[in-house]
Homo-oligomer: 324 residues x 4
């Protein structure tokens, strides 16, 4: 199922700054505003940064886009191009590559089907290059792809499947795509995170051995994630914060009610929500009403970014023609 434990690096960093009034030491954060896209790059430099961010050393690039993006083909094209350029930088354009694209997630559950939907739109070249090596020069990279399914429907850890394939075909880079869960409703539909530090498939046993990353696979791993659901308890939590803030505004400062509300601190509230609501909310998820359309749109954007990113010697027109 969905990868609900994965936070966006940018969310953690924002939270840290809000609480501590400063950036995390050991990370470099850069922001760039395009007309329709905000790019936030977080570079985790060392163990200190990694510990405080709760994320491995490496690069985390977040694209914040308008929620209308998936309804506007020009915006989609723009975002796909920006994503493609970022991927070219992360993958490298120096030498011939073999890329394995992995569409993580469950194709039977709409909000978890982003990965498999992206996988189906990738320009696959590996079998053609193998079959007719003379017809392709080294300018075209070799690309293959798989949608391994999820533990609940295969009974096999996703990592085991990927590892088996990587050992057979020895790619120079693995690109994973997955649906994420966000802690913030506002991220849904509006964020793409690209990182070079790997990913933990949602339902996997949470030991480090099973993480899909360079350390475990022996090959560079790039992960692309889009938040498509919020946990039901997250949205309750957020809503209560909004309401308590409003109550505090309305309540005379210094009154006993004010003090008690203030004292209703985060931890206590989280515990209450967890204990009381888990049995009641556990099987529910919160998604946009138009989730089918949103997933479809993001799958087009991200597959185009990957096709651009992995084929630096093709121009976008050629890729567009192929992808239509």
């Amino acid at each position: 199922m969905l990868n609900i434990r994965t936070d966006l690096a940018v969310e953690v960093s924002e939270n840290y700054k809000k609480i501590n009034k400063k950036e995390i030491d050991g990370i470099i954060l850069e922001e760039k505003e395009l007309e329709n896209i905000k790019i936030t790059s977080i570079r985790v430099l060392n163990e200190e940064g990694s510990k405080k961010l709760g994320k491995p050393i490496g690069n985390y690039i977040t694209l914040d886009i308008s929620e209308n993006t998936v309804y506007d083909s020009e915006l989609m094209e723009e975002v796909a191009l920006v994503g493609g350029q970022i991927l070219r930088k992360l993958i490298g354009t120096d030498e011939e590559k073999t890329a394995l694209v992995v569409g993580l997630g469950n194709w039977k559950v709409t909000p978890d089907s982003l990965g498999p939907k992206v996988m189906e739109k990738i320009m696959i070249t590996r079998h053609l290059k193998n079959l007719m090596p003379d017809q392709f020069d080294e300018e075209i990279n070799s690309v293959c792809a798989i949608a391994p399914g999820v533990l609940g429907i295969t009974g096999i850890e996703t990592f085991e499947i990927i590892k088996g394939i990587v050992q057979k075909i020895k790619p120079s880079v693995v690109i994973c795509v997955d649906s994420l869960a966000s802690r913030k409703v506002e991220r849904i539909n509006k964020t793409i995170q690209i990182s070079d530090t790997g990913i933990s498939p949602g339902a996997g046993v949470k030991n480090n051995r099973m993480k899909i990353n360079e350390e475990n696979l022996g090959v560079k791993v790039i992960a692309i994630g889009v938040p498509t659901v919020v946990d039901a308890s997250t949205i309750v939590n957020d809503s209560m914060d909004l309401i308590i803030d409003e109550l505090l505004n309305q309540t005379e400062k210094g009154s006993i009610f004010y003090k008690e509300l203030i004292e209703l601190d985060k931890e206590e509230k989280n515990r209450l929500i967890k204990e009381l609501l888990e049995p009641y909310l556990g099987q529910l998820m919160v998604t946009p009403k138009e989730v089918d359309l949103v997933i479809d749109g993001f799958s087009k954007i991200i597959s185009k970014s990957i096709n651009i990113g992995i084929q630096p010697n093709l121009d976008v027109e050629e890729i567009n023609k192929f992808m239509n």
Copy 2:
């Protein structure tokens, strides 16, 4: 889109009793407990009952079933049979019938696709009876079906489409199936409501003229609804109630905080939630994670109930054989 304004009669009645410590006047409520199904029949007798229940005069039968039903074929069969018997009573078995089954909802949005999915499993006989009248005796009723789509994708009020068809084919009964929204998370997956008072398709203009009922169509209308989503603001509301109750338990009675909490009455809370959260939650819905499977299961149960209900002269084996 989903019919989020439709409450289940049984919920309204329960709420009324909780607050007023008595049943609504002008309604008769009967409960019957089978091993795996609880049947609640509410009969609204007169204007007084109708006004207090907020529902037209007529019959409302609710089946409460285990949430495991859709994972257990025997339970499914049992529920389908009970539903079929109820439908036979509402439709009547006295004379030859022509039934039009209407699968309301949007087939592109999973939690709203119950109606169209049911429609596809109905035993269609009308064209065969028309084509080969000698081969069918009057014991087989004439059945046809349509999935008219929703206003957002057709641009036509669902009522207009139904009315046009009814005028052409003059059925003796119209059976509508729709996804509902519930006010209670606990209803999701676990309730089927059958009534003979009509239904308002979700996105329709909310004037009475557009309601799909006997008054407007000139023919008996039976509606079957299953709650498949909860509004995001509903779940926040319910969660806050749980938490306030827990806080009250933990707080010394008579203390000021206790009093303030008590005073944080329902209306105020609803207003806060509405004002603060509408922009934030408005485009979200809450569904079971397994919504695809749940909708599929309910579409099997309800289509079988309808096939049984409209063909009192066929035995269940014949219907099962057809439906597999």
Copy 3:
């Protein structure tokens, strides 16, 4: 099921010319070659032309396109534009219109799902114009759409459904889209026929009363059809012709075998194929292996043509933005 009796006007005309060495009297045939599209317009002027062509008086425009069209987004755009211009001419651009788009066919059978797939991509405006008449000027036409299903799954003649809706909403034009069967394998994937003489849904009772045309609906009817299957017996027939031709080439002219082959005339061959092969081929259809992709591509082309054709005051960019 599929409309296998519908021949393309252009095929009949070609056959006639081949046999009779001249054009049919009473029709005007014009051809125009663009770089990637051949446009053949047949205008049936009078009863004589109608009888010989076996088609009602009116216009039949056929676009012959490359079979690669659906793999090339630029070609698709080009074809969509040409189709849009033809539709503008047939619909007329003089005054405000209300259009009803009808997606004929069965969404559960891939090669028959073109109509429903097109219907889902139409720019629906009617409900918005009704709801907010001040926000739309008369330059935007009112568009609504329906996918009525097929007789086998609804039990209702498609004509009855359309007629019922037309009487309610009184459109100024009805645009029907359907999958066709071709007599020629070469037409599959490569032809779009647009006519203003109506259409007979495939499985309908074949009486004239049920034809979806201006005479029966009281409103102009434009039909757009794409051949997506060939009858199994057609392909056997065509193949035998090829083989007999080849045998004739190899056989000494004047020999007895040659004469017998020549005498194995069309009628005899057709009778043999019909008698011998019907039971054996009756339930089979022949489609391109990539039928899912082909249908998807044509649904994009045709929905864009319709969106362009029915909204002469919008430019293509606006329509593209909407449709993406």
Copy 4:
């Protein structure tokens, strides 16, 4: 794409007998007629049998069933049980097993989607046994499954993917399910072949190294295949045979035309069909019109057979309950 080169062993054997008037040496053929199922077991004993049959040494069991099977749930249950018993014999019931079920084929192309559809209905237990070893005794076998896709959409030989996974999870048996092409139209919908000699995925490079069998995988391989398409050239060929036979019947024996027809021998005819028709028929396939429904029915039958076959200690009721 579809595995069009795979012939059914039973077809080859029938052909041999027809031509040679005797059974192939080195094979044992047994037939058993149940009320609704004919079971043909071919055991290839040695190299001679293998060479003549063109199939490896091993067992080939064919179930011939009524074409109405998928419309009748009782027949489906019956066939599933028979299939389950055959699989129990081939898999063995002596000791604890780990089974990997492989759903071969392309889920995007309906007639090729049988394997992936079966895969989704398999009772997956491996992850549960790994997670909670104490809750499962050794009576429940460990089952996992994968749908690896096809070369055209992954760029990876299916064999490479399977081999990689087999090396990681070391199953005791691999069960592959695939759509087949038949040489005979009559086989479509009506045949299930089970063998223990492996399978060659359709689009794979046709070298022996890539065959999914015990020799290459190091573990027993059971293959289950259902013919779902006929090659377009096959159906032309068969049709011509029917017609030539009919012409011969009508033609005076001893006449020149008769002789020439007789001389139009198989090889020549095949060459003609191949040369003349390949470019014309190459991209076409022939399927039943109801292919969606047929594939769905067979996926239920075969998944139930596998669930029964791999869990000899569960009774059918338990499996039915799970599978519904």
